[in-house]
C-alpha cells in the first residue's frame, strides 16, 4: 500500500509499547531509520508491530529467530539500535 503522513504517524504511535526495553530500541529506530523505509518495508514493519510485546522483544533480542524472511531486514535494523551500543 501507499503511506500518507498520517499512516506513517500511526505506525510511529504503534511503536509505543508496554515494555521500556522495546521503547528504547524503537525510539532510536524511529529517529534514524523509519523515514527511509520503502512502502514495502513499511508493510513489513506494520506486521511486525502486530506481535505481542514479549514475542517482539525476543525477536529484537535475537533470542528467537523468525521463519518469516520478510521480517529479517527490519529486525536487523532494530537489533542495531541496542541501547548498549548507543552508550
Amino acid at each position: 500500500m501507499t503511506y500518507t503522513q498520517a499512516d506513517k504517524n500511526r505506525l510511529r504511535w504503534r511503536s509505543r509499547r508496554g515494555l521500556l526495553e522495546l521503547d528504547l530500541v524503537f525510539e532510536l529506530f524511529l529517529e534514524h531509520d523509519f523515514d527511509q523505509l520503502t512502502p514495502a518495508e513499511l508493510d513489513v514493519y506494520q506486521d511486525l508491530l502486530m506481535l505481542p510485546d514479549i514475542d517482539l522483544l525476543e525477536l529484537v533480542d535475537g533470542k528467537t529467530d523468525t521463519t518469516d524472511d520478510r521480517l529479517v531486514p527490519i529486525l536487523t535494523r532494530l537489533r542495531h539500535w541496542q541501547v548498549a551500543k548507543k552508550q
Binding site: 498520517a6 500511526r10 504503534r14 509505543r16 508496554g18 521500556l20 526495553e21 521503547d23
Partner: protein, 589 residues
Amino acid sequence: MANVAKRQFDAVIVGAGGAGMRAALQLSEAGLKTAVLSKVFPTRSHTVAAQGGISASLGNVQEDKWEWHMYDTVKGSDWLGDQDAIEFMCKTAPEAVIELEHFGMPFDRVESGRIYQRPFGGHTANFGEKPVQRACAAADRTGHALLHTLYQRNVRANTQFFVEWMALDLIRDADGDVVGVTALEMETGEVYVLHAKAVLFATGGAGRIYAASTNAFINTGDGLGMCARAGIPLEDMEFWQFHPTGVAGAGVLITEGVRGEGGILLNGNGERFMERYAPTLKDLAPRDFVSRCMALEVLEGRGAGKNKDHVLLKLDHLGPEVINHRLPSIREIAIKFAGVDPIKEPIPVIPTTHYQMGGIPTNYLGEVMVPKGDNPEVRVNGFYAAGECACASVHGANRLGTNSLLDLVVFGKSAGDSMIDFIKRERPVHKPLPENAADYSLSRIARLENQTGGEEVNDVRSAMQKTIQLRAGVFRNSENMALGVKEIAEVAERAKRTQIKDKSKVWNTARIEALELDNLIEAAVATMIAADARKESRGAHSHDDFQKRDDDNWMKHSLFFNHDRHLDYKPVHTKPLTVDYIPPKERTF
C-alpha cells in the same frame, strides 16, 4: 455542545491493563454495557512488564497464612498503609489467584500439579520470622500471561474496547458527581463525550516524571492529570519506589526474583554488603531498604565500576542451568543492556524509579474518596479507581514485590463489583451531562493549536524529568527539595505554553505527547510539593534531615490539591476489618 459526538455506556473504564480489564470483566459479565479506552492495544499495557509474580498465601510450597501476608504488607508499607484495605487484599489473594488459574492463566506448577511459589523480597512466615515462598508466577512473564488471559475473557464477555483512544478530562456535574469523560480518537483526531453511569480510572502510574525509570513511555499518569484538573486531590505522591536493581545507565529492570533465586549484591570491594544492613533477610530485605543501602555504598565510595557509581548483582554461583531455566529473560537483558553475561560476570545495577505508591484516593471498594467539610473521606459519586493510579492505600510508603499484580486483580474486581452495585441501586439511569461538557477539553486543544512563541514539548519534559530525578530521588534533604519546589513550579509554567508544529488532526503524535505532558506535570508538581513537606523518613521517602519515622506527627496520608497547590492530610486507617490492629514498630530486617 455542537460538533462533539456523544456515546453512552453503563460503565466507562480508562486504561486496559490488569486492573482495568479485571474490572471490565466483572461489569461485562454482569450484563452492563462497558467501554474500555486504551492509548495502546490492551495487551501492550505496561502490566506486561511485571515479571516477578503475584503473591497469595496459598501455602503450596511452605506453610503460609494471609495474616502473615498482611503483617508483611503493613510492615512493608512502613505503617502508612490502610489496614482495612491491606486485610481485604491479603485475605482475598488466594481466591483471586485461583480465579486466574480457572480463567486459564498458565502458572508454573510443582510436581503435584499445584501452583509453584517462589520467595520474594519482604515476604515472611510467622510475622517476620523467616522468608516464605509466596509468589505465584508464569515463568518470568506473569504480567504478559495475566493481560492475555483477561483480554480473552473480556472479548468473550463482549467488553467494547476503544483502542488508540486517549481520555482527556473527567466530566463532573454541578453536584461534583462524575458522569463521564472526554476522549480523543487518535485515528480521526475527533473529541468525543463518553457519557457513563460510572467511570473507573485504571491508567497506571506516572513513572515517566523521572529521568531514570523502568516505566514504558506510555506511563504518563493520565488519570492523575485528569483528576488534578477536575479538583480531585492526589494522595501520598511523595512515595515512589526505587527498584534496587535497574541496569545502570539504561533503567531496564532486573526482577527481584533474581535475588529470590539466590542472586546477591556486592559492592566495589566485592563485599556482600546487605549482610551488614539486614542480617536476617540480607538481599531479600524490602526494596526501599535495599535501594538505600545500595545508594549508601555508592555515596560512601564503595561503588563499583570506573566511576564507582553502581553496585553489582552476582548470579554466576547459581550455575548456567538455574540461570537459563528459571531466569531466562534476565540473562538476555544483562547481555543486551549491560553488555555482560551473568553466567560469567555480575550485572551493574542501581536504584531506578519503578512504582508509584500514591495516586487517586480510594477505599478498598475502589470508590474515590475526597475530603468534604470535616469528613476526610466522602465518596465521589460515580467515580472509581484501581491499580497503580489508585491509592487504596495498600502499599503505604513502600510496596512489597508481587503485591502490585495482586492489587490489580483484587481491587479491579472489587471496584467492578462496587460499580455494578452503584449502577443498580443508585444510578439506574444516566445522570444528565452538564452543559458544554466538552468545552474544557476543547479549550485545551485549541490552546495547543494556537500557541505561538511557546516551548517545545521535549524540552519541557526533559526539564521536568531532570528536576524530579535530582530533587526527589532516593536521597532527599530540605535544601534540595526546597530548590525542587521552586524549579518544578517554573517548569510547570513552561508547560502551559507548549507548542506543536504539526497541526494535523489524524494520528498527530506530537499533539498526544503534548497532552501527556499536561498530565505528567501535575504528577511531578504533586510529588515535589508533597515530598518537600514531609519532615520524616518513612518507606521510600528517605529524608536526610529527618532520618527517623515520626508516627506522632506524620502517620498520615498527604492530599495534594492542584488548584492552589496546597496540601491537606488525613488519618491512616488503623482499624482492620476483622483482625487486631498491627501497631507500628521500627522496621528492621
